[in-house]
Point group: C2
Chain length 356, copies 2
């Protein structure tokens, strides 16, 4: 079976080989404080940095999930005020986390399938962290990088957090325009779930330290200061998902060898083919009307007739599993993941099946 689901998804095609080498090299049995494992962490960080062009002065750290990072960002980067752009279930959850943590959170929310008009909302002046979602996995809406850069221009004094869960490493992001970004590994990286990657700059560390100094709790083992203290020697506060960190380094190395440019080109090709197929036939319609906001990595289509489950089952007969719609779209939409592990050939077969 070929899983074109928006996470968990098909494993990257080299993962099985790397699991074998991990077992052979006792990666799961050695101490997480050993030199050997410090080298593993160092390798993984270097490969992520190269692949995503992360500046040298941005820290790259590890958590259990991107879900966890929502919580850690709010605990470490806001004493009171967070502001959220919400256009689907996951950007909404980021906001909900702030409410649960008793922050004075506010949001600008638009309808499902929509993105944001920068002229239609005002970020409150007291905002400490502005929370953006690059790719809303539930609706297939992607925020243009130019909009993110424009927000930075308008708010140079605020921290900007960017959820890249279902897009990284596809976007050619200039990290200088944001302060922190994060993702999990079971989406575009094609890895087993259970690992989040949290990237942040010195300003985030300073903010977190300032909150601590003011007597606030920023958490325990996964405070920014605890993560930074440990990552300076390629360590983690707790015994982490060591296999996950090892595999992430290996897959990033594979992607670097392939070239991020080639991966982006192939992603663009597959996305163009899929949106073209959706628009051509009579059975589907792109859920995101404005082409400018259509995600390249999570493609959402309304099923016009007969219904979503019919096509999901039909594709399964050809060994392709696509995702169902999320939440309200469960019965009426399909979601197709377009990740680096998904081949052009699989997309061409899927396009053919959709056109029939």
């Amino acid at each position: 079976m070929n899983f074109l689901t928006p996470g968990p998804s098909q494993l990257y095609f080299t993962v099985e080989t790397h699991i074998k080498s991990a077992l052979k090299n006792d990666i799961c049995a050695i101490s997480h404080r050993s030199k050997a494992f410090q080298q593993v962490i160092g390798h993984t960080i270097a490969q992520i940095r190269q692949l995503m062009n992360v500046p040298d002065d941005y820290y790259i750290t590890f958590t259990a999930s991107a879900t966890e990072i929502w919580e850690r960002i709010l605990q470490n980067l806001s004493a009171e005020y967070s502001y959220h752009l919400v256009n689907g279930s996951f950007s909404k959850k980021f906001y909900d986390f702030a409410v649960s943590l008793k922050r004075n959170a506010s949001k600008h929310e638009v309808a499902l399938g929509q993105c944001f008009d920068l002229n239609s909302f005002t970020v409150p002046s007291q905002t400490e962290v502005l929370c953006l979602t690059h790719n809303e996995t539930s609706t297939g809406v992607s925020m243009p990088l130019s909009d993110i850069y424009e927000l930075r221009k308008q708010h140079p004094d605020k921290l900007i957090a960017l959820d890249m869960v279902s897009s990284a490493p596809y976007p050619d992001l200039d990290f200088r325009h944001i302060d922190t970004a994060f993702f999990s590994v079971q989406k575009c990286f094609g890895l087993p779930a259970g690992l989040g990657v949290w990237i942040f700059n010195e300003k985030c560390l300073e903010k977190s330290l300032a909150l601590e100094k003011a007597g606030m709790s920023t958490g325990t083992y996964h405070t920014i200061s605890s993560l930074v203290k440990n990552i300076r020697t390629n360590e983690t506060p707790e015994t982490p998902n060591m296999l996950g960190i090892y595999l992430l380094g290996k897959v990033c190395e594979d992607m670097n060898n392939r070239g991020i440019g080639a991966i982006r080109n192939e992603t663009n090709y597959k996305a163009a083919l899929m949106y073209h197929t959706i628009q051509q036939g009579e059975n589907f319609k792109a859920f995101v009307e404005n082409e400018k906001f259509r995600s390249k990595t999570v493609i959402v289509a309304d099923v016009i007739k007969p219904k979503a489950s019919f096509f999901i089952n039909k594709f399964k007969e050809h060994q392709i599993t696509v995702g169902s719609g999320y939440g309200a779209g469960k019965d009426t939409q399909i979601r197709i993941a377009n990740f680096p592990t998904h081949s052009k050939e699989t997309f061409e077969l899927l396009a053919e099946l959709m056109s029939k």
Copy 2:
């Protein structure tokens, strides 16, 4: 190499086979909300329940690590007052977490290598959660179950939390005497790190809900109420370490087939052999003087001559890696893990090497 280190440690001998079956069955690619994965979670919970004799009305849930559970216990089970019995680095960290979370934490602390005299401390009456460590991994001190049961008798109104990180599933614990217990999987279960198991009863859920009702934040996705809501349908709040949960179920099933009684007997035999060997020769001395408090699963020895690294290197020549001492004991102690995956034959070889 054979890793007799107190976590991470040698993988359970069936893990490699189970990883292969996980890959074959697409465990890492299917949705964490699918029926197939709900069955995986259901299976893992049932196997843990059987292996550790967990009562039906105790919830079994999953986190990223036991370290995380320290944090979650304090957030969910104490508005203000936690009390900690401290006799080493890990029980101390549990206390430190409470301080970081601004709880009014207090502790009774004894010297390294010691356990607790129940007559020498008084648990403050306002204590909400009493935090105990069954097996202090840094020193090899194990708290007798009878002492835990006695504390319950003295404090029927307080919640009792039990850290079983480096002992579960060895102790034949009667869960009725405690309210919550937890462990991670890279110790006695011989699994890749990155998964914690949190077991708790209805009283813990009630306490957490009461804190929420009083307007406190108990966290976000990993509050007790969020975990309970999800686990009722064999789900997790976030995309979890799915491979880890699958492997844990399989290894618990293997252990159930072997029989927990047989595992305990073998653990007792290997521990007796090792303590006997330590006491016989001139090179080692058991760090924990009082036999009653000596851990069966983490055996710590002072090295009298020449020094710890000499023996660690010597054993490595015979394909056995033992742990170094923890913290202050780093250069003068060795720590030997006695987990279900470590064979009698390996222990007999190690005993022979130690006697030479």
